[in-house]
């Protein structure tokens, strides 16, 4: 489903983000800024971004972009 908002995704805006190395690599591969990814977890009060967070943020971004729009999306009829 296409999300609301100009970018199609809500953007976090932190200056420090906790994530394990493989998650940081995934963010680079997906071309997203880790500090912008909404975190689903917290570790001792600090945002902790998981691979799933990165994927869903990237997916939302793709769906919202023109290139993404040309791809079949979840809202398209089966």
């Amino acid at each position: 489903s296409i999300q609301s908002g100009a970018a199609g995704r809500s953007r976090a805006d932190r200056d420090r983000t906790l994530a394990m190395p493989a998650t940081r690599q995934l963010a680079r591969e997906e071309g997203v800024d880790l500090d912008a990814v909404p975190a689903s977890e917290e570790r001792d009060g600090e945002a902790f971004v998981t691979p799933a967070d990165v994927r869903s943020y990237a997916d939302a971004g793709r769906e919202a972009t023109p290139e993404g729009a040309t791809l079949p999306t979840a809202s398209a009829p089966e």
Binding site: M20, P21, A22, Q25
Partner: protein, 474 residues
């Protein structure tokens, strides 16, 4: 608490002062509970007095003497003489430092120490029989009780530990002389550690094992490394044979074995070490008084708070089941103690590492490849042979490997098997990795110091990702 002549009262009574019991006692006292620890023999239990610690002291000394005597290739010429009585005295000194440390730590944390054998009198009272005849009795009333009575070595028919030539591991670790010929019955971890050690200080060692391999709990290719090194040291393996009896000969003993097919063989020896396993100690406790019964293996069943079926009675350590390891005992001791203090602790650890201090060492944690497959994962495996490790070569010890097992789908690290020098230390990183839910890629992307053995862990992770630098990727 008022110490009385007849009965004293305590919040938490801990029975047994091994790594399960003393850790539980200290932690409970740290939560300001009134804690009494009863030990009938020696603080530190099997581990400090007759197990982990003395065996590792013997291994250090045997390794040093053996390595120095076999280092011509490195330009070192030495012909070390091992004075077993001197070694035993040093080992005793190490044990004394640690056990008196345990005593001091207990006292410093406010734990009351009682010497004697505890048995249940009723739901909230234990009788403490002080050592020796006529030394008297004492009763202790408790709110909650942590049972940490440990385990003892199994005897086999025909071999009584009361007979002088028959050694339990404890006797081997008190040896003041090296037997010329030693037969070891059982190739489990205790049998393998001690066989290697005695071979290194000059004994002629024969290992008799009923099953068809050494360290049957481990993967074949892990144990192969250890077995072939032991064979190089002159250890003679006799698989598929069970020890049935022993006799005095003129100048020593002979140990008779039998196969499943009834074939017998016999081996000359000066001593025979029986290391076929250990059984939980519950018979000292009069458990029926409180309505508790061991399970079919003799263990006290517990929940994830280390609580037995009787609500205010906990059991930790060897008496509470496998794995019978000191660090498992301590981890359970902590949880039992926290629970008595009303803290929300639980035995929810993802993995319990284990080590065998053979040559090379073995360190394992989590699942093997086949265990992962059985559990429904599609495992990926990465390996690094130690002969490709710069550090291992500079240590002149390049046998073995590091193997990591991950979930092929998500990349999560599921387990590790290491057979390598310092495997007991290397496994720590992987225990933490599993505990934290790390992936194979997380391990591969962490910078490891050069030149270290721990780099092999990173390389094994990269190998699983098919991008290893120092090995060829399949």
């Amino acid at each position: 608490m008022v110490m009385g002549d007849v009965a004293t009262g305590t919040d938490v009574l801990v029975i047994g002062g091994g790594p399960g019991g003393y850790v539980a006692a200290i932690r409970a006292a740290q939560h300001d509970l009134d804690v009494t620890l009863v030990e009938r023999d020696a603080y530190g239990g099997t581990c400090l007095n007759h197990g982990c610690i003395p065996s590792k002291a013997f291994i250090t000394a045997a390794d040093l003497a053996h390595e120095a005597g076999n280092a011509e290739a490195m330009g070192i010429h030495a012909d070390p003489a091992v004075d077993m009585a001197g070694l035993a005295a040093w080992k005793d000194d190490v044990v004394d430092q640690l056990t008196s440390g345990v005593e001091k730590l207990c006292k410093a944390n406010g734990v009351h120490l009682l010497e004697g054998t505890a048995a249940f009198k009723d739901d909230h009272t234990a009788r403490i029989a002080h050592g020796g005849e006529g030394q008297g009795m004492e009763s202790v009333e408790f709110e909650e009780c942590i049972v940490a009575t440990g385990s003892r070595p199994l005897e086999i028919p025909g071999f009584s530990f009361a007979d002088e030539p028959v050694w339990a591991s404890k006797d081997a670790l008190a040896a003041e002389a090296v037997p010329d010929e030693l037969v070891v019955v059982g190739a489990g971890y205790i049998g393998m550690e001690l066989s290697t050690t005695f071979a290194k200080v000059g004994a002629d060692v024969t290992v008799v094992e009923m099953l068809d391999s050494a360290l049957p709990a481990y993967d074949e290719d892990v144990t192969r490394v250890v077995r072939s090194r032991a064979a190089d040291l002159g250890v003679d393996f006799q698989f598929g044979e069970g020890a049935s009896e022993w006799h005095e000969t003129g100048d020593g003993i002979e140990v008779v074995t039998e196969t499943d097919e009834g074939e017998t063989a016999s081996y000359d020896a000066d001593k025979v070490l029986v290391a076929v396993g250990r059984e939980p100690v519950t018979d000292t406790l009069e458990l029926d008084t409180i309505g508790l019964e061991p399970d079919e293996n003799g263990f006290l069943a517990t929940d994830d708070r280390a609580r037995t079926e009787v609500d205010h009675i906990y059991a930790v350590g060897d008496v509470a089941g496998e794995p019978m390891l000191a660090h498992k005992a301590s981890a359970e001791g902590v949880v039992a103690a926290e629970t008595t203090a009303g803290e929300p602790a639980a035995l929810d650890h993802q993995a319990i590492p284990a080590a065998v201090f053979t040559d090379p060492e073995i360190g394992t944690v989590g699942m093997t490849e086949s265990e992962a497959a059985d559990a429904g994962y599609d495992p990926v495996v990465g390996e690094m042979p130690m002969r490709a490790s710069g550090r291992a070569l500079t240590m002149n010890e390049s046998e073995g490997f590091v193997r990591l097992v991950g979930d092929g789908e998500t990349g999560f690290l599921l387990g590790a098997q290491i057979v390598a020098p310092e495997a007991s230390e290397l496994i720590a990183e992987l225990g933490l990795a599993i505990e934290l839910g790390a992936t194979i890629e997380d391990v591969a992307s962490t910078i490891h110091t050069h030149p270290t053995l721990s780099e092999a862990t990173m390389e094994a992770a990269e190998n699983a990702m098919e991008q290893a630098i120092h090995t060829l990727n399949r």
